[in-house]
């Protein structure tokens, strides 16, 4: 139902775009496509249909990419159905989806090893395309800046520190006037944000954080408040006093954001800091092919200016497709997604952090290996 609706909308959109291009009259068709010429797809406009789906974190960005890509390639139809990352990966592996949006890289032994059938004898690969810093936002009257170490953040979010004037907090913030009880606001629905945030806490503060890495926030305390969805979390932090919570940095607005301790300095959650953290992280090469660009996010990095509480989301694609047309379409779309134009689109639409040029080079060379069968 949802799917057909999306398909119809996409088809209608494509039709509209085609109409508006036709209405431009004598302008030649390639002249209209200036937006994405910076990407690798300098080739003539692509056509065909690609069905993708998965991560809801990527949804806004995917819609922006689809709109941008279809403007330059009016005969191409890309559909993205948001569900969850697991469903996206499953769809890619059973061949029902041409690409998947996933907040976790494909598992080398369980998933990539079984991708042969769906990928025409090739392999499924990961392309990191979406980076979003997770901000720890707070609302304490009169306090605009807050510096916390990972251990202190973990203590707050596990309920070990319950008041703002706890020595663990005041030690790092000698100038701020802090008092009163802490209300922790967390995401009550399943979310990749929660998963990456708990992963950050587990790796960066292993001595304090004893919970598993999960999509659902693991701690329940009666001084904690769950909220459904990003905007409700932000609204909840805003509405209370002495509140603290985590959300995608783009959604936090004017609330104060915690600078977390990296090395000996405190780093704020900016787009540049998120990209720096990805660059400071190693490639996950364990059992992976060269063209499989999975990032092992280094949550304990001490690189200058890197913000390790980030979410990295991937485009899962095959490196081999049944027809040349389909392979070209996937290549074209993926190249547009990682192009600086595509990344800017996503930053505008979803508030993500554009990937760095270094990472773009790696991803583009991985995209170049995508080919047709035979």
């Amino acid at each position: 139902m949802k799917r057909t609706h999306a398909t119809m909308t996409a088809a209608a959109l494509a039709g509209l775009v085609a109409l508006s291009l036709a209405a431009c009259g004598s302008d030649n068709a390639t002249g209209g496509s200036s937006a994405a010429s910076s990407s690798g797809s300098a080739a003539p406009a692509l056509s065909g249909t690609l069905n993708g789906g998965g991560s809801s974190a990527q949804d806004k960005a995917q819609q922006a990419w689809i709109a941008g890509f279809q403007t330059t390639n009016p005969d191409a139809t890309i559909n993205y159905t948001k569900s969850d990352s697991g469903a996206g990966r499953k769809g890619l592996l059973d061949g029902s989806l041409a690409f998947a949006g996933t907040d976790a890289a494909l598992d080398p032994t369980k998933e990539i090893a079984t991708s042969g059938t769906a990928c025409q004898g090739g392999k499924a690969i990961d392309l990191p395309v979406y980076i979003s810093p997770i901000a720890i936002a707070f609302n304490v009257p009169g306090v605009t800046e807050l510096n916390l170490s990972a251990d202190t953040v973990a203590k707050i979010f596990s309920g070990a520190v319950t008041t703002w004037n706890d020595p663990a907090i005041t030690a790092d913030n000698p100038k701020a006037t802090l008092s009163g009880p802490i209300t922790v606001v967390y995401r009550s629905d399943d979310s990749g944000t929660t998963k990456n945030f708990t992963d950050y806490l587990k790796k960066a503060a292993p001595s304090v954080w004893n919970y598993d890495v999960t999509n659902t926030f693991p701690v329940t305390k009666d001084t904690f408040q769950g909220q459904n969805g990003t905007s409700a979390v932000v609204q909840g932090i805003q509405a209370g006093t002495g509140t603290i919570g985590y959300a995608d940095a783009s959604a936090v607005g004017s609330l104060g954001k915690v600078s977390v301790k990296v090395g000996s300095a405190f780093v704020a959650p900016t787009a540049a800091a998120a990209a720096a953290a990805v660059d400071a992280s190693k490639r996950d090469t364990d059992g992976r092919a060269d063209n499989d660009v999975a990032i092992k996010i280094d949550r304990t990095t001490t690189a200058a200016g890197a913000y390790p509480a980030i979410l990295v989301s991937y485009l899962g694609v095959c490196d081999t497709y049944a027809t040349a047309a389909q392979a070209d379409l996937v290549k074209g779309y993926a190249s547009y997604v990682v192009s600086s134009a595509g990344q800017d689109q996503a930053a505008k639409a979803a508030g993500s952090a554009p990937i760095s040029d270094t990472l773009r080079k790696d991803v583009l060379s991985a995209i170049a290996t995508i080919k047709a069968k035979g």
Binding site: N215, K221, Q225, G226, A232, G240
Partner: protein, 335 residues
């Protein structure tokens, strides 16, 4: 769902058959209309059966999955079955609805009595119209109002309740001894619900009060009753079953209300009576709305199973209302 009969309306006297020529045509119309009304009656049963069947069929995979369900559904903890989730949800749903009812019914009866027996006629008409207008506001607007306007206003009130009445389990504070801040708590949600169910309870009660037999009222006045005694002796006994069914209609709406609860309440999965602490309870309808968008196949099935539970609760509530109304009828002045 059909509302319980409020009062016994007299059967219209049989119309004398119209004479002569158009008789055959009338008979055709008569039959046609009979079929039409039978079809309408059957349709409502079919719809109800279709909804019930849909709920049962789609809930079956989750009901049969047992403990294995936690592997597929993120919001069911490891090793837990569906029942460990449905229980708190049912509890939260009923608690929110009863809290809303406890606040709404006295106020609604007051408004209805004012309109039917105290207010000057012109004021009564205007007021009745205004109360009906409350019912026309979409619940999502109530939700936004509740969370952005009402909640900040309520914070000091809830703080006061916790401070002075915290020894009552319902008003107990959190482990710091405070009401939750921001007050996304059950009592805030219940208050919004109470405002939402006020119009239906008021409207039905008002209609019932207005039907108090004139003779009863005059008899009471003749005995020297004051206005309050008149209400107590003649109006309320007569209207008792009507008030019960009005309250049950309100309860039905409160049980199923989704948007307002979703937006106001900070959800939790506990059997907790703490009305002023956040993340303790959640209602079935709000939970379905919150989880459906990202649910996988088994998740949808589990949500539908909770919907089935809500369906059963609503059915039980309505049947209970019917039973109460039927029993009380004998004692009321209606006969």
């Amino acid at each position: 769902m059909a509302s319980p009969t409020l009062t016994s309306t007299p059967h219209p006297a049989a119309e004398p058959t119209p004479p002569g020529a158009s008789r055959a045509k009338d008979r055709g119309m008569d039959r046609g209309f009979r079929y039409l009304s039978i079809a309408s009656g059957v349709l409502i049963l079919l719809v109800l059966a279709a909804v019930a069947a849909f709920l049962v069929v789609r809930a079956l995979p989750a009901l049969k999955a047992g403990d294995a369900i936690s592997q597929d559904v993120g919001w069911i903890g490891a090793g837990q079955s569906l029942w460990t989730v449905i229980g708190p949800l049912v509890f939260g749903t009923v608690l929110a609805a009863i809290a809303a009812l406890a606040m709404a019914v006295p106020v609604a009866i007051g408004i209805a009595l004012f309109i039917s027996h105290y207010a000057p006629r012109r004021l009564a008409n205007g007021l009745g119209y205004l109360v009906d207008l409350l019912a026309a506001i979409p619940s999502v607007v109530y939700g936004l109002w509740g969370v952005m306007v009402l909640a900040p206003v309520l914070q000091p009130v809830w703080d006061f309740l916790v401070r002075w009445l915290g020894w009552i389990p319902l008003f107990a504070g959190d482990s710091n001894g405070n009401a939750s801040n921001p007050p996304r708590v059950l009592l805030t949600a219940a208050l919004v619900l109470a405002v939402m169910i006020l119009p239906i309870i008021t409207a039905v009660s008002r209609e019932v009060f207005l039907q108090t037999p004139r003779l009863h009222e005059e008899a009471a006045l003749a005995l020297g009753a004051t206005r309050w005694e008149l209400v107590r002796m003649a109006v309320l006994p007569f209207a008792r079953s009507g008030i019960v069914s009005a309250a049950m209609l309100g309860l039905g709406r409160a049980l199923g209300e989704t948007m307002a609860v979703l937006m106001v309440l900070s959800p939790g999965m506990l059997y907790s009576f703490k009305l002023l602490v956040a993340s303790q309870q959640q209602t079935i309808a709000a939970n379905i709305a919150a989880k459906f968008a990202d649910a996988n196949a088994m998740g949808v099935s589990a949500l539908i199973a909770t919907g089935l539970a809500l369906f059963v609760i609503t059915l039980v509530v309505n049947m209970a209302a019917r039973a109460i109304v039927a029993r009380r009828k004998d004692f009321s002045g209606a006969n």
